[in-house]
């Protein structure tokens, strides 16, 4: 009497026969009509997969676009960039590193709560790159705000962090309000955020956009 293989095992065996760990398995399949039928179906899937094309040519010539993007990148980006997905570190290390980064940024005066400095942003190479940057930056932003909220930070640092977080939200809301067609809801949110900033720090120096050059 033999033991039936599970459907998952049969599929794995049929689709990746070179990875099979035991030569007894095919014999077991041969002993059972039900297993053999199911194995046959997955084997035909394997055959169809092996018929699939391996290459395709893009509709556009992408090489000039890639080379142009490379040429347009700032030289400082050419060395030592972080990998796309950074290796995970323990939460305590990440929290401490993030808190240290926030404090260091304040000490260096890089987070300007009054908006007197242009953000030192690097322009993304494409709309897709921009969307990915938004996703990554959004995750960092939320984590950093959570750290500021939960950690026992000095009141002044907390206040600066809150102001910086509000300023970012305000700028993002202004940009989003004009994303495709003017959006009344987002304009309302931006107005509320602007009022909140104003009540805490006085009138913003650049009320309508982060990226607009200062007229002062």
């Amino acid at each position: 009497m033999h033991q039936h293989l599970s459907e998952e095992e049969l599929a794995e065996l049929a689709l990746h026969p070179h990875e099979a760990t035991s030569s007894l398995v095919p014999a077991q399949i041969g002993d059972c009509a039900e297993c053999a039928t199911l194995y046959g179906r997955y084997h035909r899937l394997h055959d169809a997969v092996s018929e699939l094309p391996r290459t395709a040519t893009p509709g556009r010539d992408l090489l000039p676009l890639v080379l142009r993007s490379v040429d347009e990148e700032p030289a400082t980006l050419a060395v030592g960039l972080r990998p796309l997905i950074a290796p995970k570190r323990p939460l305590s290390v990440r929290v401490l590193a993030m808190a240290a980064s926030v404090l260091l940024a304040f000490m260096l005066g890089r987070l300007s709560v009054n908006g007197n400095e242009e953000p030192s942003a690097v322009l993304p190479s494409s709309p897709l790159g921009a969307a990915m940057d938004v996703q990554e930056a959004g995750t960092k932003y939320l984590t950093a705000v959570a750290v500021l909220t939960r950690m026992d930070a000095p009141p002044q640092v907390r206040a600066q962090g809150r102001a910086a977080a509000l300023a970012t939200l305000y700028g993002a809301a202004l940009q989003l309000a004009h994303f495709e067609t003017p959006d009344g809801n987002l304009s309302g949110i931006a107005t509320s955020l602007g009022a909140e900033r104003e009540s805490a720090h006085g009138p913003p120096s650049r009320p309508d956009s982060f990226s607009r050059p200062s007229s002062r």
Binding site: P58, P83, L128
Partner: protein, 162 residues
């Protein structure tokens, strides 16, 4: 390891972009998005050139970057964009026309849910191990196996109704 000059990058691109493009196209299903992803992947590869540790081939490394970009794009586009399955009928097969069964399979793959499609393409078409797929898609190994099982089960039904 120095960042490659334009000619070296161009050589790398010419050698590998067609295979990477097809893998990405199977993920995102839209040629225009796949082209953007390939462009972004090579740019990111160039920018993080020094992060390559030589544990795999350079092609596999860039393919990994492209897959992560494609996965991000597929997740964000998946809810809004339908499968452009007819585009998949024009794929190349070196030296011969695409076999009818392979076109059927391409269409069946394109109709899979995003996660099932991603794990099937990586595991059963590209030949990555389950652990590698889990790392590339940032999923648990058990989750990969579950989606893979469902995808395979659905494919044998789609291409060969019982």
């Amino acid at each position: 390891m120095n960042t490659p000059d334009s000619e070296e990058l161009a050589q790398l691109f010419r050698s590998h972009h067609r295979r990477i493009y097809l893998t990405v196209l199977r993920f995102v299903r839209q040629p225009a998005i796949a082209e953007d992803v390939v462009q972004e992947a090579f740019l990111r590869a160039w920018k993080s050139w020094n992060a390559f540790r030589g544990e795999s081939s350079r092609e596999t490394w860039i393919c990994g970057i492209a897959i992560r970009c494609a996965w991000q794009a597929a997740r964000s586009e998946g809810k809004h964009v339908g499968a452009d399955v007819d585009e998949l009928a024009h794929l190349e097969s070196p030296g011969r026309l695409p076999h009818e069964s392979s076109i059927d399979l391409e269409r069946a793959i394109a109709r899979l849910p995003p996660r099932g499609r991603a794990v099937f393409v990586l595991r059963d078409v590209e030949g990555f191990s389950v652990d590698e797929v889990a790392a590339l898609l940032d999923m648990a190994t058990g989750t990969v196996k579950a989606h893979l099982f469902q995808a395979r089960k659905r494919l044998i039904t789609l291409i060969e109704p019982a």
